[in-house]
Amino acid sequence: MFALYTQGLFGRGTYSSALRRAGLDGGELKAASKELRSYVVYWVYAALSDSGLLREIEGNYRRRIRRSVRNPDLLDAILDLLLDANVLRSYQEILSFEAEPDRPTMSTRWLKRALIGLDDRFERLAEDVRSGVGPPQDPAHTLAMYDNPLTLLETGLAVEGFGLGAGAGTLLLPWSGLGEYVFSLRSLLGDVRVMAAAPPGLERVVRLALRTRGIYEGETLAIFSARPEVAGLECLKQAEGTGPPEVALLLNAIQWSLSPEAAVRSAVTGVRSGGRVYILQTLRSRESLPMVILGRLLGGNLLPTWEELERSLRGAGVRWRVVSRTGSAVALEVTTGVR
């Protein structure tokens, strides 16, 4: 779903081709993006209203509310989303309530499926803003977020944009989208060898999600338990005998990592000397705010801004090259030689 905001990445030709391969068209994506925004606006408003946080916001300064909460970045995302939707208004930096949002309607089938039952999780939003403690991950909701054509779009963009052919060698996936990126890579590249990290406690879900579609562990697939920030190191242990992978591919992995620096550094460590590390990342922007909030509700962290991502890359001590960048997404190649 993070791929909703990758439009224009790698140029129009690559994007159109990835869209086609995913069985999507631009109009459908535009409609889905609009529907997702109105869904998130509605439920964010409902959650704030029910929790009393909306009353605290009304007539208050943003900077004052920011100081009183533990998750000011999430608060900013919420406020910006509601301001953009004209639910809130800001006059001389004082926030006021403007109008209730309309109840959302859904016509995009795969989006409707991905959002089923998520409205209940909005109840935790106000608590998250106040305490900074996000909700635990529910594998069914997380899988639903990846079990749609957008995952194939995202994977297709990475494959084409980074030039990953069937002969790319072994691929390391520090975050596998509960197996959905592996499935997409298989449909795009055939029997490419993949080493996929599964978050501890969810490796069984990843294995079963693939096995139930006839993809088994063996010569071309290894699944191991590791968070993104240690996936590279764990991969080295797993790859004893076969050698480390040639390529690490971080597909919207940063928000699932406790430390983006560590995730990048670990990916660099996990590939063989002269190997390549590619990052395709949706960024926190006004456009991607609905997924910023949903990602958090699913148990991840907020999407990084471009500045935050740059800081993480500098912190990881690596060199990088921007392959393509839009306001809401970036594609990077990290070179494995440290600075």
Partner: protein, 112 residues
């Protein structure tokens, strides 16, 4: 395709050649499963065990049913849960996935 004969009822099962190494179970008769150990591409051991499925059984959690992955055939799952069809090895994988996702639960757990 490798063939395995059940030591209890004599049914013959086929194991795909690309089956990964390790122990896995295969539903066989009404009341028993086979526990098969594959190593180095060879079937090393075949044991008979009481059927977990027959003993435990699963039930659907209605409010979680919409979270079933898109590739899962819900009609087949309903038929399995009602006992209308015997589960294959692939069906057991599907039920285990649905259990992990909280879409089905074991009946025994539901009672306690």
């Amino acid at each position: 395709m490798r063939r395995v004969r059940c030591p209890k009822c004599g049914r013959v099962h086929e194991i795909p050649p690309d089956h990964p190494d390790g122990r896995f179970f295969l539903p066989c008769g009404e009341d028993h499963d086979l526990v098969i150990w594959v190593s180095g591409g060879m079937v090393r051991e075949v044991d008979v065990a009481e059927s977990v499925f027959a003993k435990v059984g699963f039930e659907l959690i209605p409010e979680r049913a919409p979270l079933t992955p898109s590739w899962v055939d819900m009609d087949r799952v309903r038929a399995l849960l009602s006992g209308r069809v015997r589960p294959s090895s692939e069906d057991i994988d599907v039920l285990m996935l649905l259990e992990e996702l909280g879409v089905v639960r074991r009946k025994a757990r539901a009672v306690t």
